[in-house]
């Protein structure tokens, strides 16, 4: 009961932020953080619950972004020198759906691969996949404009309502984040979630009681990828410009840091991790450090967390709380 009240209070507090925070820049930071939290939650499903060492996650994010942007802007490409495929402009909500579907489809592909290729090799495949996607985005200029970026992407809109002001975007992202959290929670607390954990903990045993390992691997990657794609689509229409740098490995690393330090395999972990690493750069900005120093700090922090809080912050807190209760 107390939990529910706390959660409700927390959400109310979050909703109220644009009402008293007058700083447009800080609101922007919160929006970006929110988008990253959605991406982190999706990675947590795959990395934390299903236990898949997938380090190509940024590919889903970027594919969602590009697909959504392209469908909303319209594009035409030469499939062969004579045959041109043209897609007209589409409303943003449809484009975002396309982004989610495209990312989900890639998730399906990776899921099937994950079953065949195991452990450390799968890590490498996932990274390679993301890199190939980046290089395609960089080189297939006809489709993606390459390094010149896709710009003037239509802003977030639903029918005729356009989300132009920061508070409106903030509330939209917050809503999507809450919805995603609920979806993940439902999945995790169901037979699907149990099956994912089972295949992570003891695959042979899971199979012996009828758990179809491939099916659940694919389910976890599809949902995870689709959600990351949604985050990417939101990003594309919020920032309104997208270039191949969106596929850089560092962004996967950022998401991994968020999930791992927050606590992988917990619901609150990616949220906590996302808040910390989304807002930390702003905090560090006050010290006027070069951006490299910030990354060095991240690296060191990751190592420290792995050593001293191997489960992440949320479980560490929980344990602290538990032992206090007993004492």
């Amino acid at each position: 009961m107390i939990n529910k009240i706390l959660v409700a209070a927390g959400i109310a507090a979050l909703v109220s932020v644009p009402l008293w925070l007058d700083n447009s820049y800080l609101l922007h930071v919160l929006v970006i953080t929110g988008i990253f939290i959605i991406a982190a939650m999706s990675l947590n499903l795959l990395l934390g619950y299903a236990g898949q060492l997938s380090l190509g996650h940024v590919a889903f994010f970027g594919i969602g972004a590009y697909a959504s942007a392209l469908v909303s802007l319209g594009f035409s490409i030469h499939i062969t020198p004579q045959w041109v495929m043209t897609v007209e402009k589409n409303p943003v909500w449809l484009a975002m759906l396309a982004g989610i579907l495209a990312a989900g489809a890639c998730g399906w592909f990776i899921g099937r691969v994950a079953f065949k290729v195991r452990g450390a090799y799968f890590v490498i495949v996932s990274i390679s996949f993301a890199e190939v996607v980046r290089l395609v985005a960089l080189n297939w200029v006809e489709l993606t404009q390459g390094p010149m970026a896709l710009n003037n992407i239509p802003p977030l809109a639903f029918n005729s309502f356009v989300f132009l002001k920061k508070p409106e975007n903030y509330w939209l992202i917050l809503t999507v984040a809450v919805v995603c959290y609920i979806l993940i929670r439902r999945l995790v607390n169901s037979r699907a979630g149990r099956a994912m954990v089972a295949l992570r903990e003891n695959e042979a045993l899971a199979a012996s009681v009828g758990i179809d390992v491939t099916r659940y691997l694919v389910l976890s990657t599809v949902v995870s990828a689709a959600m990351a794609g949604a985050a990417g689509a939101l990003y594309a229409h919020y920032v309104r410009i997208v270039d191949p740098d969106i596929f850089l490995f560092v962004y996967t690393v950022t998401m991994v840091i968020m999930v791992v330090t927050g606590g992988k395999g917990t619901l609150a972990g990616p949220v906590v991790g996302g808040l910390i690493f989304g807002l930390l750069p702003e905090g560090l900005r006050a010290f006027a450090l070069p951006p490299e120093a910030q990354w060095i700090a991240y690296g060191v922090l990751m190592v420290l967390v792995v050593y001293f809080l191997p489960q992440g912050i949320v479980p560490a807190f929980r344990n602290l709380f538990q032992s206090k209760k007993i004492a």
Partner: protein, 290 residues
Amino acid sequence: MDQFLQHCLNALMLGGTYALLGIGLTLIFGIMRVVNFTHGELYAFGAYMMYMLVMLTGANFFVALALAIALGVALGAVLEFVLLRRLHSADIDTTMLVMIGAWIALQNAEQLLWSGVAKSIDNPFPSAPLVIGVVSVAWNRVFVFVTAIFLVGVTYVLINHTKLGKAMRATFQDRDTAALMGVRIGNIHTATFALGSGLAAAAGALLGPVFVAYPSMGDLAAAKAFAIVILGGLGSIGGATLGGFILALAEELGAGYVSSGYRDAMGFLLIIVILLFKPTGLFARKERIG
């Protein structure tokens, strides 16, 4: 046809250093089961050491090369001792995350120290290329090739004909039994990581003067190293050597006949395609290294 031969020759020159990269990683990955994300940084380190020694302190090129490799070995040993020993060979997720943290810290430290501007490194070789019939090759690349092959040979001898190498092979095959037989696993791990890192640094020290040195050069190198490990099979020096040349050839031909933009994609595409058909790598031989 001439074009093709030229591409092959270029691939030969490049393949040797790729082999060094690959062998280093296959040893670390194979013996320690660590997804070594810092491998690329050691490569960059080797190149930057060359820059510092040759350009900033005016040292002799060959002395600098030897020193850069030695420093790479040292750095590898330090990294293993500080970061990995304490983990008592924890599961692969944990070590992977530690390696990622180290990789970020190292690369950004390099960026902070040397700035993002690419640095070129002088070499003492004549700039006029060696011409052999219809193909030509720059002298510095010939040097790189010869040195790389030499280092591959040294590594081979080390692994197959020394006591240390024997211990490493035993650890690769069955760690617990090796420990029972008196092998100090901790020391073997440090030695392996140091050796692997030294090879990566050597590759960087050799290629740095051929191309340029820039902070993120390690990332592509690491990716290629992983591709080579998968091509050649975990723990196989012969496989990694062959893999290095195959990758170099695929890149050269891809860049030459498809598009140079996709050159770097070759490695990744190879990885994906191979693993899809043979999930354990092309020449996977789980039983022994060497």
